[in-house]
């Protein structure tokens, strides 16, 4: 009994380590190659990694963090949160009522087809330059996306659950919080995750066109003033932000679905416990 357990754990760790190693080979090789090439090429558009690192520290740490990263993140999270608050309830209502789904379907199909960035000029016109405009565009982008996915998720709930609700006379609040929302949660969470990336995108673009502070504004300004290391540092920060938020969200999503017993429905690979 004990012997195989003893050999299995290190084997599993070794397996995971080799998997991570394989995944790291290409990115590390690319970075190394870039460093060697940029050092020898001496092309101002492509600064070396160390130059980018220096610019990163100057621009985004300490005072730069407070001045430019904090407002960006604040707009991002306020817009994202508000977008979820608008999108999920309307999505549930539309998903539950076939009439609403029919009536609103074409409008949402249209809104989904229009890239949120394309609506920026209108928002600039109406709300002017400033956080209201940036938050507004993020709210629109997030809420439309989440709304449609929520409506789909609620519409796709197994009719068997509807039978249970009807037979046992489950009241509207219990229906909503104990049946509808948990049942649609895989759809809602998946959409919320995509919407988070969308929110980062919209945040950066909105700052590029209509702000003097924030990650996007600083990055574009750096490009326009020939500070290419700082431009690269901006791109690196956005990448880190995107990856970090996605990892955190993915982890939280997995925990929630596991606790809800819904994990198996998403990953057929399974083998969880």
């Amino acid at each position: 009994m004990k012997a195989p357990a003893k050999t299995r754990l290190p084997a599993r760790v070794a397996g995971r380590a080799s998997k991570v190693a394989w995944e790291l080979i290409l990115p590390v090789a690319l970075l190394l190659g870039y460093q060697l090439w940029s050092a020898s090429a001496d092309n101002p558009y492509f600064p070396t990694l160390s130059e980018i690192a220096v610019a990163f520290r100057e621009n985004w740490m300490g005072q730069g963090f407070e001045r430019n990263v904090v407002p960006s993140l604040s707009n991002l999270f306020r817009g994202y949160g508000l977008g979820l608050l608008v999108g999920i309830p309307i999505g549930v209502a539309i998903g539950r009522l076939l009439v609403l789904r029919r009536a609103f379907g074409p409008i949402f199909a249209f809104l989904l087809a229009v890239p949120p960035v394309a609506i920026l000029p209108l928002f600039l016109l109406v709300l002017g330059v400033g956080p209201q405009m940036q938050i507004g565009v993020i709210v629109l982008a997030v809420s439309v996306y989440v709304l449609i996915a929520t409506a789909d998720g609620v519409g796709a709930i197994s009719p068997a659950l509807g039978d249970i609700e009807d037979v046992y006379g489950i009241g509207p609040l219990r229906r909503l919080f104990l049946i509808t929302l948990p049942a649609a949660s895989p759809h809602i969470l998946a959409a919320a995750r995509v919407a988070l990336s969308l929110a980062v995108l919209v945040m950066v673009v909105s700052e590029m066109v209509g702000a003097s502070r924030g990650i996007g504004a600083v990055t574009l300004l750096a490009q326009q003033s020939f500070a290419y290391s700082q431009m690269w540092a901006g791109m690196v920060l956005v990448a880190i932000l995107g990856i970090g938020l996605n990892l955190i969200f993915g982890w939280g999503e997995k925990q929630m679905l596991r606790r809800a017993g819904l994990e198996t429905q998403l990953s057929t690979a399974g083998g969880g416990n």
């Binding site: 197994s158 249970i164 009807d166 037979v167 046992y168 006379g169 809800a260």
Partner: protein
């Protein structure tokens, strides 16, 4: 002897309603149901009628596609008939009546994986207006009665298929219905588990004084569990024959199924299902 009538006499006024005890709990009256498909209506049920007496166990069997589940869903108020009506406790059914519970075939879809076993059983009770404590006590009693004492804190998906179906049965029983409908309740479990679950039904009926209607494709199961078996014809379905089952009680997997009378009934019902025109080969 007729066990059904004996039981009815034993429990006068137990149900506590104004309706007379002699009156059937369910009257299924000339049900028709057709579905619109491309190329005209598809008639599933074409005038099904029968009564279900109080505290009786009745099975509905028939060839595949005979609208058994359709009839059950109409009785449950989940489906509207094209024509005809169902009287439940003297009142026409329009939507699921409050004194009715259903056990569906697919436990994996009808239980909520994000709630515990206890949460699944108490949810309908809380909706019914029971306090948290009352709901909990009732649910624990129902879980114990189906052999799931001590499992209340687990999630449904941590249990075997048979145990999950027991949770669904406990949920139905805890709801304290007058009528328990079961739609192919044991079709998704293995043969051994199936026998265990079958042997759960009759004691529950006796203990909770509930009337049971079971839809099944399993002839043996129908005879084993029922006081009467209703055999439907192929679609468009009507009642082919109602076969009374006068097997002694309590029924057991060995004695009852080895009883020559069981074999005779099996032959009769099976031939009604397989060859609907024969009108039951060994009839009477």
């Amino acid at each position: 002897m007729n066990p059904v009538q004996d039981r009815t006499l034993e429990t006068p006024g137990k149900s506590g309603t104004s309706s007379p005890e002699g009156q059937p709990l369910v009257v299924v009256d000339n049900l028709h149901k057709s579905y619109e498909v491309s190329g005209g209506p598809n008639i599933a049920v074409a005038g099904v009628g029968f009564d279900v007496r109080r505290e009786e166990v009745v099975s509905i069997v028939g060839p595949s596609g005979a609208g058994k589940t359709t009839v059950l869903r109409i009785i449950a108020g989940l489906l509207e008939p094209t024509q005809g009506q169902v009287l439940f406790d003297g009142r026409p059914v329009a939507g699921p009546p409050p004194d009715l519970a259903v056990v569906f075939q697919d436990y994996s879809r009808s239980l909520l994986p994000w709630l515990t076993v206890l949460g699944n059983v108490t949810l309908p009770l809380r909706s019914k207006g029971l306090s948290r404590q009352e709901a909990r006590a009732t649910a624990l009693e129902a879980l114990a009665s189906v052999g799931l004492a001590g499992k209340e804190k687990l999630r449904p998906w941590q249990l075997s298929g048979g145990m999950q179906q027991r949770v669904a049965i406990a949920r139905a029983i805890a709801y304290q219905p007058k009528l328990l409908l079961m739609d192919e309740p044991f079709a998704s479990v293995d043969a051994q588990t199936r026998m265990d679950l079958e042997d759960l039904v009759l004691p529950l009926r006796d203990r909770f004084k509930v009337t049971v209607v079971i839809v099944t494709h399993d002839i043996d199961e129908a005879i084993y569990l029922s006081d009467r078996v209703i055999v439907l014809t192929p679609p468009p379905s009507i009642v082919n024959k109602i076969v009374p089952i006068d097997l002694p009680t309590p029924r057991t997997q060995f004695e009852t199924k080895e009883d020559p009378e069981f074999a005779r009934l099996r032959h009769q019902v099976l031939s009604l299902v397989r060859r609907p025109d024969s009108k039951g080969a060994s009839n009477e």
